[in-house]
Symmetry: C2
Subunit: 250 residues, 2 copies
DNA sequence: TCCTGAAGTTGATCTGCATCAAGGCGGATG
DNA sequence: CATCCGCCTTGATGCAGATCAACTTCAGGA
């Protein structure tokens, strides 16, 4: 089992916890919120820590509060494929299954809002729109996974990198600037070159080369290794191979 | 819109329809079943017909009764990636979304049990375990999609082919022979070489070559182009790159 | 201050799969 | 029966990305 510390903090109420808004109780009544309050607790992890190993017993479900975590699968000989990126408000774990299917790792410092599985399942049984909300989120994840399948199966290295940068940029834009972005966009890469490679089905050398190429071609600018500026989002999207009408900020 | 014919047949009751068992109403009360009966109808398609195009309005959700359908995504320049294979009892469509995200194509003759979306959503709102059942199924699909991401991102062509054959063999075995398989296993490939290629992120030539290679190495036998015999399932699984303890018949 | 190690870059070379091309096979159709 | 066409196989060649290797950058620690 991974090391972690619990920070059950009654003072830190669900107002800080995105599960309220996205995962569970968008339409909850006050007494249902109360039930959620009673079974929830927080866990925090340091960057690089493993939250849970594939196959471990997982007696909770959780929602990311702050930080970034990854889901990865590993083959016996060490080949790794990232199968999901967990951002604040994303949900981990599945009701009805007690063991984890993937390695979950904190790539940055991470705080999660956890619910013990048993009481959560009971709450779900008695509160219909929790299951509906989870269904909606899971369908979104399934769509994202299928888009990723297209990327992994059919896109070139350059298209893969451009797609990843576009995804990170889109998320970052919607977090920081609710209004439409017109000019340049600057953000920090939350992943190492190797993590990007594991996400994209490439090697870290190819990732590095393609980033250099995009920089050489003026599609992106780099400040240090991690800080990226995108002068024109349209020019970046042209490199992704996706339909032009991609709905960048919808 | 694709051509189809409706076969609203009051005589053909839900007993023939896998949605009863897997998708919707495993624990339904009689009156809920009655509601489902009222809003359901059947559609059938011929092999090769497109059920729905990506972006089309989709005013129903459905469950496959017999036959096989595929979900594919296509890039502007024609690169294609299959993102799902729909077998009997699998579910298509998502409550809360009115347009299709993928092309759905019948690869064999196909019968689907459809429910108009609006009444289905109303039923879902009033019947909690329908949402729970759908959630469970969607989580299974998500797991399958993530396993496929590992295949697409990290497996070699030979491993991809072996994995696909293993998946088809497993499904076929569980349909035909509930008891454990000990000896050889024979089945027909439901996909053309090109469809396999689109599923695996390869070209049809590579698919053909790798199948020939597996045959040459005695992992499989071929009778004609489509009929496959697997003398030893373990020897096939050795070629997939997956953990040995894969739980072939669980 | 230097040392150390993790992260990243870049070059040279190799190779697995794509691409291009030429048939083969089997079933439908006149 | 011949012909045609979709599906498949096999060979020759090319290239994108993997692999192997050397070097740079930078942050942290003694």
């Amino acid at each position: 089992m991974s090391v972690h510390r619990d920070i059950r903090s009654p003072s830190q109420h669900c107002g800080d916890c995105p599960i309220r808004h996205r995962a569970v109780c968008a339409r909850c009544e006050a007494d249902e919120l109360e039930l959620l309050e009673q079974i929830k607790y927080y866990r925090s992890y340091e960057a690089g820590q493993t939250v849970i190993w594939s196959g471990d017993k997982m007696d909770f479900v959780a929602s990311v509060v702050t930080g970034i975590a990854t889901l990865t699968q590993t083959m016996e000989d060490g080949r790794r494929q990232m199968v999901g990126l967990l951002l604040p408000s994303d949900f981990v774990g599945r009701p009805g299954r007690s063991s984890a299917a993937y390695d979950v790792t904190a790539t940055t410092d991470l705080v999660m809002c956890c619910f013990r599985r048993k009481p959560f399942e009971e709450l779900m049984a008695s509160t219909p729109h929790i299951a509906q909300r989870l269904l909606e989120m899971t369908l979104d994840e399934l769509d994202a996974a299928r888009e990723w399948m297209l990327l992994l199966g059919r896109k070139t290295a350059r298209e893969k990198i451009a797609s990843l940068l576009a995804i990170i940029a889109r998320r970052d834009a919607s977090l920081k600037e609710p209004r439409a972005q017109t000019g340049a966009l600057t953000f920090d890469l939350p992943l190492t070159r190797e993590e990007m490679a594991d996400y994209l089905g490439l090697t870290l050398e190819t990732v590095s080369r393609q980033i250099s190429a995009l920089k050489r071609d003026g599609i992106i600018q780099l400040d240090g290794k991690r800080q990226v500026t995108i002068p024109s989002i349209d020019r970046l999207l042209d490199q992704t191979g996706d339909d032009s009408d991609g709905g960048f900020l919808d």
